[in-house]
Every structure is written in C-alpha cells, then in structure tokens.
Symmetry: C2
Subunit: 134 residues, 2 copies
C-alpha cells in the first residue's frame, strides 16, 4: 500500500490522502491513466469514512490531478492537465504567507528558509529520478 494515514496527526485525513497521492505521482508509483482504488475500497483499506475518501478525490479532481470516469472510476491525469497556472501560483502565495510571517517572527532568515525548501525539493526530485517515470 503506497498510502499511509496518521490518525494522530493534526493534518485532516482527506488532506493526508491527497498528499499521499501527490507523492505517489511524483515517485512514479501512480502513473498517468492509472485507476485509483474505488472510494469504497480505499475507505475500507484505511478503516475510514467513505465521505473522507470522497472529499480527497473531490479535491484532487478540482486541482486537476485526477479525473473521474463513469466506468474506470478515479484515474490519474496526464501531467499537462495540472501544470502550474496563475490560479495555482495565487494559491501557493496564499499558503506561503502565513508560514513566512511566522518564520520572520521567529527570526528565521530567508537563507535558512530557502535552504530547508531546497532540501525538501531535493528529496522529491531524488524520488522522481529513482523511479524515472518521465
């Protein structure tokens, strides 16, 4: 199972599912055209509510990462369907603002902040290269 959920985390479960699927796409464990488990199956595998999985799939659909086929269910989209656009960049800025306000308050320098970002980027790029799904 490529998806693990931490029930003790502050991160909502539907967000954890969404993040797990993004990581799966990045690492090549989930490829374009591949079907995700049905809502019912995933809810049962993870021992969580149907509505939670439904919400996660709804977010992923809205963000362009998956589409929902009548027959095949939820299917991973091709990368060109979710390339960064203006709407995404606006949302990214909105998400970064409070993180950076807090970092500034706590005396973290811009260099330290971008170093941490660089380390996390390197982690995901290594994953992506290891699986060579391009």
């Amino acid at each position: 199972m490529w998806l693990t959920i931490d029930l003790t985390s502050d991160v909502p479960i539907y967000t954890q599912i969404r993040n797990g699927i993004l990581t799966g796409i990045l690492s090549g464990e989930l490829t374009p055209g591949e079907s995700l488990p049905s809502v019912r199956q995933l809810a049962s595998d993870l021992g969580i509510n149907l509505h939670t999985v439904n919400k996660a799939y709804g977010v992923l659909k809205q963000e362009g990462f998956i589409q929902v086929h009548r027959k095949k269910g939820a299917v991973i989209n091709a990368p060109e369907m979710y390339r960064a656009d203006d709407g995404y960049y606006a949302r990214l800025r909105e998400q970064l603002h409070p993180l950076i306000a807090e970092a500034c308050c706590r005396g973290v320098s811009i260099d330290d902040f971008t170093d941490i970002c660089g380390q996390i980027y390197a982690h995901y790029q290594k994953e992506a290269r290891r699986n060579d799904h391009e």
Copy 2:
C-alpha cells in the same frame, strides 16, 4: 482594527486570527507586553463565536507568541519567547512537504519556488523595517 477576517476563505477563522496577530507582531502594531482584546471583545468586534477566538488564543499561547495573565488577559510575549527552535523547524518541514510535493508535481522549479518565498519575505521585512520596532 488591525485584524480582518475573510468569512468566504477556506482558511479556518481561528487560523486567520492567528495569522493576523503574527502580522501585527511583525509590523510592530502589536508590541511585547501589549494586551490583546478580550476573547469576548474580539468575538463581538469580528461578529464570530467566542470559541473561535478562544481557539486562536490557545494556539498562539501554545506557540509561545502570547501568554495569558489572570488580570491583563492575553499579552504579547517578548521575541525571545518564540525564537525558532527544533520543534518549530520540524513543524515547518511538515508544513512545507505537501506544498513542495505539489509544486514538484506541477513542474515548478526550485528557483521559481524560492523566488516566490523571497518576494514574500521581502514584503514582511519591509513591513518590519517601516515600523522599526526593534
């Protein structure tokens, strides 16, 4: 009023209050030792539930930005009370991981990502300098 709330935003209201107070600290509108409005007052000013303000103050207290005096109520802490520590850096990484996983998926380069971070940093540092609260 230094705090505005967007009732249509996806960001929970208690998080918006917390972020607004951090921005107030950064810009120098809120100084160490200064009292915040009482929970009742702020809830009334913003037209929201008491529990929402209570939750925001609880988070700020837990994060070290404020303390709660028996008489003075919620008071802004001195900066050394909330300097970045190991716990904070661990939390920051946890918050950045999903953002960066998504950025990687969407084909955003590390340089573009850190450029955006740098712009937001510059915004807050300009605020801080303008008010010269050091």
